[in-house]
């Protein structure tokens, strides 16, 4: 298992924002104190009490790109333009390098609004010829921060270059939703000041990330280093942050620990600073928790006064504001500061110009709906890291809700029955997990909570006491809950955008089920939601595994794949599979069960199964001969045959596709569960799980028994 030892640097950056297309114009706007907040003209704001937004002006775009006709094209165009600049700056455009080792991680909140969040990434990868994995992180407003963090992880053995960032559009739907929640300010967003409230924005930003040694090798000057990152879950409410500041504090502490630093070494904080009374107060509390008495001496500013709240692109664009000013040793200010609001940072850098300030390390924070917090540590230069061995990852518990019902033994039988063809039976969530409030849970959320509770029960682990803050949750899914999305769009159709349902809006981010699940099960450690199309569940398992391997502050991560049936769109796939992972040996195992570990895994491009297999076997340190069983599905069987050096019909291949009635996110998680079952029963010494493929990423995982 690789370890988080590589120093990671940024060698290129690109931006599309309301204050400039391109890093140069963006920096000029910062220097000259310009904000990008203007009356919205793209759609009528007549039904609303607010008309301001930080939009990318149409005429800027028309100058650069062909006619766009819809928001989905707009999202792609923003991203494409930003990515082009980033590659050019890194000196990588038109490069003859191995594109199979170039990965893409895109953070987006609402994506192209077609409920196909992964397609933005696959389109971009196709356009630029990237052939490595193209993964989408969708954790609402913390998406691109998280994406940059995941890029760090991918550089540890899965890619040589990772382009990471995010994109989101100021769509009518987003505006209507934020407006309904009552968080939009009637004036320009004034973080930490008055009036309270935020201003919605849009744009895209991308960073090119490489290992420092590689960048030095090819003579690419680093703009900055990404020293570490941290994630946490508030486990509190769909749209309000945990008022104690504990959630945000955990993410920052984790990031500082990951970077190998002490809190006193952080010289500047770029806050989420959305401008709402709730958020700003909570963030300041969190900073006081982390930095203690020293908090008052750290400049804390928010870039949302310049950029607006760019949703999924907020993290990367705000990080860019820091990156552009850090070489000059100055920090971005907080605009529109017209007087102190109580319970806000002592030094909000209230000014319209950047302030000269000496610092080596900056913390960039973002918090999203569903209580997902992400913190990034940017540094002026990278420094050698203490060598940390990766911890082996043990599979502690399994839980699945699908065609077989809720019982694991039924899953084993179903997978071997060639005639199996049953839809998911109805079940009562109270039977699976007593005392969870079922009010307002859509089916996707119910399936997820049920599978997660079953996994914890199967593991015999109770999440209580200090474990709550050290237990995380990673979800892979491909679609929003059709029930929640339907409710939202119906409310607009029936009542007009000025009266859309705030309750439903809170549930149309891809990470809404994860937010509810972390609340129900008190999982306050790192959380993330990703999508890469089919196989997303397995992708979530592997992301969870890197967390266990690399983060000492994490003792347990639940990883799941979830699908909700949507008969209106022809999507019948339904189910959830959840796996509880922990550092090997950390928890006792119920008697009569062999210990099972995730011995190795691979993450590669959509048409690069052989690379995924190669990575997995190299990490596991075993030969293909050792594998008894293969689970899952692969687009191209010949790759497997070639890899195993014999017709792979010799090796049994089993898939849970029938249990979920399709192959989206849950199936690959169930394939993993099926493999884990045969390992821990002793039936098999080593099993391989493959999943994903076109259009985004291929995954491979090797499970073996473990002797401590």
């Amino acid at each position: 298992m690789s370890s988080r030892n590589a120093e990671v640097v940024v060698t290129g950056a690109g931006a599309v924002s309301a204050i400039g297309i391109g890093c140069g114009p963006l920096l000029s706007s910062l220097d000259e104190g310009r904000d990008g907040i203007r009356p919205i003209t793209r759609f009528s704001t007549h039904p609303f009490s607010v008309n301001l937004g930080a939009t990318v002006p149409d005429d800027w775009l028309r100058g650069l790109s062909p006619q766009y006709s819809s928001d989905s094209d707009l999202c792609f165009d923003f991203a494409r333009i930003a990515l082009t600049e980033a590659l050019w700056q890194a000196g990588l455009e038109g490069d003859g390098r191995d594109q199979f080792k170039t990965a893409l991680v895109v953070g987006t909140s609402l994506g192209d609004l077609k409920n196909q969040h992964h397609r933005l990434a696959s389109r971009l990868a196709g356009h630029f010829g990237f052939k490595g994995p193209a993964i989408t992180i969708s954790t609402a407003c913390s998406s691109s921060n998280n994406a940059i963090g995941l890029a760090r992880d991918l550089l540890d053995g899965f890619a040589d270059v990772v382009v990471a960032g995010g994109a989101d559009v100021l769509s009518l739907e987003a505006f209507a939703g934020f407006h309904a929640l009552g968080v939009l300010s009637p004036a320009k967003c004034a973080p930490f000041s008055r009036p309270a409230g935020t201003t919605l924005g849009e744009g895209a930003g991308f960073l090119v990330l490489e290992r420092a040694a590689d960048a030095a090798c090819r003579g690419a000057p680093p703009l900055a280093a990404v020293s570490g990152y941290g994630l946490s879950a508030d486990a509190f409410h769909e749209t309000s942050p945990d008022p104690s500041g504990g959630g945000v504090a955990r993410a920052i502490q984790m990031a500082i620990l990951d970077a190998g630093l002490a809190p006193g070494e952080i010289g500047y904080v770029n806050a989420h600073g959305s401008g709402t009374a709730n958020n700003d107060a909570v963030e300041w509390l969190a900073l006081q928790r982390v930095f203690g008495a020293g908090a008052g001496g750290i400049p804390v500013s928010s870039s949302k006064g310049h950029l607006g709240h760019c949703q999924g692109a907020a993290g990367v664009l705000e990080a860019l504001c820091v990156l552009l000013l850090m070489p000059r040793q100055s920090v971005p200010p907080t605009l529109h500061h017209r007087g102190v609001r109580p319970r806000c940072p002592e030094d909000p850098v209230a000014s319209d110009r950047p302030r000269p300030h000496p610092y080596r390390h900056a913390a960039c924070l973002n918090s999203g709906f569903g209580g997902a917090n992400a913190a990034l540590i940017l540094s002026t230069s990278s420094s050698p890291r203490p060598v940390r061995a990766a911890r082996p990852v043990e599979i502690m518990g399994l839980g699945a809700v699908a065609g077989h019902g809720l019982n694991l033994s039924e899953l084993g039988k179903a997978i071997e029955d060639p005639e199996f063809d049953q839809p998911m039976p109805a079940y009562e969530i109270d039977r699976v997990i007593p005392n969870v409030d079922p009010r307002g849970l859509d089916p996707a959320t119910r399936h997820l909570i049920a599978a997660a509770a079953l996994a914890l029960g199967d593991a015999g682990i109770a999440v209580r006491g200090p474990l709550k803050e050290r237990a995380g949750l990673v979800i892979g899914t491909t679609r929003l809950s059709s029930q929640s999305a339907g409710e939202f769009y119906r409310s607009i159709a029936e009542r007009g955008p000025g009266s859309c349902s705030p309750l439903a809006f809170a549930r149309i981010t891809l990470n809404a089920p994860a937010g509810s699940c972390s609340k129900a099960l008190m999982l306050k450690g790192p959380t993330s939601t990703l999508t890469s199309g089919p196989g997303s569940g397995l992708g979530a398992v592997l992301y969870a595994a890197t967390m266990i391997a690399n983060w000492e502050s994490v003792d347990l991560v639940l990883a799941a794949g979830v699908d909700e049936a949507d008969s209106s769109a022809g999507g019948l796939t339904e189910g959830a599979g959840c796996i509880a992972l922990a550092p090997a040996g950390k928890f006792p195992v119920p008697p009569g069960r062999e210990r099972a570990v995730l011995a190795g895994f691979g993450i590669a491009g959509p048409e690069d199964l052989s690379a995924a297999l190669g990575q997995a076997f190299a990490m596991a340190g075993i030969l293909p001969d050792s594998v008894d069983l293969i689970f899952g599905s692969a687009d191209d069987k010949s790759v497997l045959e070639h890899f195993f050096g014999r017709p792979s019909q010799k090796l049994p291949r089993l898939s849970c596709r029938k249990l979920c009635r399709g192959d989206e996110a849950a199936t690959s998680a169930l394939d993993f569960i099926a493999a884990a079952l045969v390992i821990r029963s002793g039936e098999s010494r080593a099993a391989l799980v493959v999943g994903g493929g076109r259009p985004c990423a291929t995954y491979a995982a090797i499970l073996t028994g473990w002797r401590s």
Partner: protein
């Protein structure tokens, strides 16, 4: 204690009192949840740190106690007001066979409770125990070393119950009093809280709780579940099937209303007062009466009389009858020192 300044403090700043009426019990051990679940008439959706407001009912479905249940890891804590002294322990003894019961500890032996109520109670508390408490949501609690801070309150204002070891309550109170100057901290007592509860339609176990009415008549169905078995569920089910004949209704009157006065609709008896008190905020009397279903609606002119021939006009109203200032105070944005900036509506509805 003078009632009016106490109520004034509860309604406009913050007031402090020892909460001697509270019975505090801790349920622990492997049977804790099962025990508490059998006793409580509501589905318990509780995660660590959360509370629910419910009741204890006897076999006739009459309230025995007004109860907050709090979940602390695997243990449960009851903060309860009982119908009469000793009612809760006697209820537990008669309904819990010892063998299948959690360990029950009476925390009053080791802990004392101080109550804070008022639109700026959160701010005083934050100044004394730390700013993290400021955003504590309603019906949750925080543990700060040996101090439990429960957010509840029955006045319609921000309310907190601070439970500390008996050796520390004196010091805690002293710290609150010392910090209380800038907040115009007042002293209150149970009588002041009861008057505020009356104005805010918060259930009082010692008044309407003694009127032989079930949660159905008392408009307390939100505190119980009809889909669960618990002590009193059979009687409740029967009453529900039969249908109620009276409902608790709020009244106001310019003239004194007595705690047991009959209420008339014209010449006909409509019901009976179960709780009454003078509201300084409104300058008139506020009462609760169990009225027959024809008259259990706001906006009706009725009368009540303690003596024949001297009817006093009363009017049924929609409670709460106070525009609580706490509704307009946001801990994220406001402070007592700058309260003049807050635009409160008139106190009286």
């Amino acid at each position: 204690m003078a009632l009016e300044p106490a109520i004034e403090a509860i309604r406009s700043s913050v007031a402090l009192r020892p909460a001697g009426e509270l019975v505090c019990l801790e349920f622990s051990g492997p049977l804790a949840f099962e025990t508490v679940d059998r006793l409580c008439p509501i589905e318990l959706y509780l995660r660590h740190g959360q509370m629910q407001h419910t009741l204890l009912l006897d076999d006739d479905a009459l309230p025995v106690a007004d109860l907050y249940v709090a979940c602390h890891e695997e243990d449960f804590i009851f903060l309860a007001e009982e119908r009469e002294p000793g009612a809760i322990m006697s209820h537990l003894r008669s309904h819990l066979p010892a063998a299948r019961r959690a360990e029950v500890k009476d925390l009053r032996a080791t802990h004392g409770v101080i109550a804070l109520d008022g639109p700026f109670a959160w701010e005083l508390l934050g100044a004394v125990v730390g700013p993290e408490i400021i955003g504590l949501p309603y019906l949750t609690f925080a543990r700060l070393d040996s101090l439990f801070c429960f957010r509840g309150g029955k006045t319609g204002e921000f309310g907190y119950y601070l439970m500390a070891p008996l050796t520390e309550t004196g010091e805690l109170e002293a710290r609150l009093v010392e910090a209380g100057g800038p907040f115009d901290l007042g002293r209150s007592d149970l009588a002041a809280v009861e008057q505020c509860s009356l104005e805010n339609f918060f259930f009082n176990i010692r008044r309407e709780g003694r009127s032989k009415a079930t949660p159905l008549e008392l408009q307390l169905q939100w505190r119980i579940s009809h889909h669960k078995d618990f002590v009193g569920s059979q009687a409740l089910k029967k009453r529900r099937e039969r249908g109620i004949e009276h409902r608790l209704t709020c009244l106001t009157s310019r003239e004194e209303v007595g705690a047991d006065d009959p209420v008339f609709a014209g010449p006909d008896l409509a019901g009976c007062v179960v709780n009454a008190g003078f509201s300084f905020a409104r300058g008139e009397w506020v009462a609760l009466a169990l009225l027959d279903l024809h008259h259990a609606y706001p906006g009706l002119d009725l009368s009540c009389g303690g003596e024949p021939g001297l009817p006093r006009p009363v009017r049924t109203v929609t409670p709460p009858v106070i525009n609580n200032r706490s509704l307009h105070v946001s801990p994220q944005a406001h402070a007592y020192a700058t309260r003049s900036e807050i635009r409160f509506p008139p106190l009286v509805v």
